[in-house]
Amino acid sequence: MSAVQEAVTDAPAIDAVPKRAMTLGAGTSIVVLLALLIFPMFVKNFVIFQLTTVLIYGIAVLALNILTGGSGQFSLGQSAFYALGAYISAILMEHAGMNYALTLPISGIICFGFGFLFGQPALRLSGVYLALATFALATAMPQFLKLGALEEWTGGVQGLVVTKPDAPFGLPISQDTWLYYFTLVVSIAIYVASINLLRSRSGRAMMAIRDNEIAASAMGINISLYKTLAFGVSAGITGVAGGLGAIAVQFVAPDSYTIQLAIALFLGMVVGGVGWLPGSIVGAAFIVFVPNIAEGISKGLSGAVFGVLLFIVIFLVPHGARQVALVSQHLIGKLRKG
């Protein structure tokens, strides 16, 4: 993260993901999709809830992947946008009686706005300096949410309770199952839109900035526009995830959105493979399930076990799940030939 000493010829800090490797192949995608569609039929409500959480964090990790893996900006502040989206949804649902589904685009747009605004001063910072600034944002958010002046809307330290929606049209499925499918649809929509964004001209501009900002600017790319755009888009998507999170968990409170969430999302991005959007869900699964596994292994040392497991993962696959996918692709290729 040596922001200060980057000459043009230095290798970029973030590996580029080649265009054709950006998604899973058609075959694999279909298999994954089918699995995601039918799995709720076989498990209990609580597990469905857990997987909904994985999808929601997956969306947030995907947003971070766009920001860091896509435009090369490092952010430890995603928890702030997640919290903002969560609270906006909660307030709209509980104080304005709005339908839960409608709150999501509103959360998204407002968070996009804030992200875009934050992106402005962030333009002059990079690497470790940007990390510090986003860290400040993340630590400020819970305090901001506790402010007495806003208590009427935010519920102060206690937060707000959110009503979980029933399945529409009287469908005979549980709330958890309905919410799972709803989240799945939103996730797929965001995933597809993000892939298209990265493949578009804007996406290429962002990635050019990530790889070599000076060269990109010399090519006429409007650096400020694309960097702030990336921040905005990433914040907007994270806000939607936050909204979904609020609905799924049924409440919002300031201390649910601390820097620890931001760090977890960062770890999710690394484990999934930085910049590789399909890996977002693997990373999300890691941050949802592994802490529980760690606690199961040793209650007293759960943090240490988590750390050890994280180390094992990064030693084996320093490039995250993307590396696993590449290796499997290789092996399957070899099997086909041989």
């Binding site: 993260m1 922001a3 000493q5």
Partner: protein, 336 residues
């Protein structure tokens, strides 16, 4: 006006804490060109070691922890390993009874040496394998190390607050109400450390070699420097400096596993403010951060303890937006 002066002075006193931590941060940055998020935890752990060496009931404690380790898990395989480790620990406890506890300064020195060694070992075992991995993966490694050290400290010493003695005492310094002898001692030690680092980097060959290895590793190898060992050395020194920081800070913030959280962030902020390549900048940055924090707490209404941190950080970031390489950092011209 008098309130302002007093707050500034008080800020300098607390700033010595951040200055000391910032020196450790700059040290590691000089060695590896990034920041180590686990540094605060390593400093905390070192401080606990020092504390432990001073405690009269230490040998008994070792035996007790050996016992705890043996029962820490019931997973087959892991349980056996932990049982064996616990047994060894109990043996060590028995032997330790003959030399422990130590008086303060010997414990301080032993802790420095142990911290240095630990820093080198951690780098060789955990981070050398990641040397070719992407930076973000290394950052994940620092986070993992943080979790491990924090958790282990919590297991061994639990989360109750402990007193850590100050070698300087805590009476008012030269009769002043604002600065205690301990705080004066902190400032003194920090300045001494600064002098040591300045001399080390400017006037010794190994300091020069380390700077070279950190800025241009390939060129450094071409003059015969073993850049890999320079990194290990940097880690060792950073760990030792962190230990000093921890041992100075503990009497003020009290010793417990989460004591370094806020301090580390302020330490980073101070180092960055000062310009990451400058030990002098780190110290001045530390004092400035202490002053900012105090002034924010005094003059901004509603800024309780918790809002101080983000506000102080925001101020620092503002400075950086204006002067991106920090107050004393080199502005490197990007040559195309």
């Amino acid at each position: 006006m008098e309130l302002l002066t007093n707050q500034i002075l008080a800020g300098i006193a607390t700033g010595a804490i951040y200055a000391c931590m910032a020196l450790a941060v700059v040290m590691i940055y000089q060695a590896i060109d990034h920041l180590n998020f686990a540094q605060g935890e390593m400093a905390m752990f070192s401080t606990f070691i020092a504390w432990q060496l001073i405690q009269p009931d230490f040998p008994a404690k070792i035996i007790e922890n050996g016992d705890r380790l043996q029962h820490a898990s019931s997973i087959p395989g892991l349980a056996q390993i932990l049982t064996g480790a616990g047994f060894i620990l109990k043996g060590i406890g028995g032997l330790a009874g003959y030399i422990l506890p130590l008086p303060f300064w010997p414990a301080f020195l032993v802790t420095l040496v142990l911290s240095f060694v630990a820093g080198v070992v951690i780098e060789r075992l955990l981070f050398k394998p990641l040397a070719k991995a992407p930076i973000l993966t290394n950052v994940a490694g620092f986070i993992a190390l943080f979790a491990i050290v924090n958790s282990v400290a919590g297991l061994i010493w639990d989360f109750t607050i402990k007193q850590f003695p100050s070698p300087f005492g805590s009476s008012p310094f030269l009769g002043s109400q604002l600065i205690s002898t301990h705080q004066a001692g902190m400032i003194g030690v920090t300045l001494l450390l600064l002098l040591f680092l300045f001399v080390f980097f400017r006037f010794t060959r190994i300091g020069l070699a380390m700077r070279a290895a950190a800025t241009l590793p390939e060129s450094a190898r071409l003059v015969g420097i073993n850049t890999s060992w320079m990194i290990a050395l940097g880690w060792g020194m950073a760990a030792a400096i962190g230990a000093i920081a921890g041992m100075l800070i503990a009497p003020v913030v009290f010793l417990e596993p989460n004591m370094m959280g806020g301090v580390l962030i302020y330490g980073f902020a101070a180092a960055v403010l000062g310009g990451l390549s400058s030990p002098l900048g780190a110290v001045i940055g530390g004092f400035l951060v202490g002053i900012f924090e105090n002034l924010v707490g005094t003059y901004i209404p509603g800024a309780g303890n918790e809002l101080k941190l983000p506000i102080a950080l925001a101020l620092i970031v503002t400075v950086l937006v204006v002067k991106p390489s920090g107050l004393f950092g080199h502005t490197v011209i990007k040559r195309v």
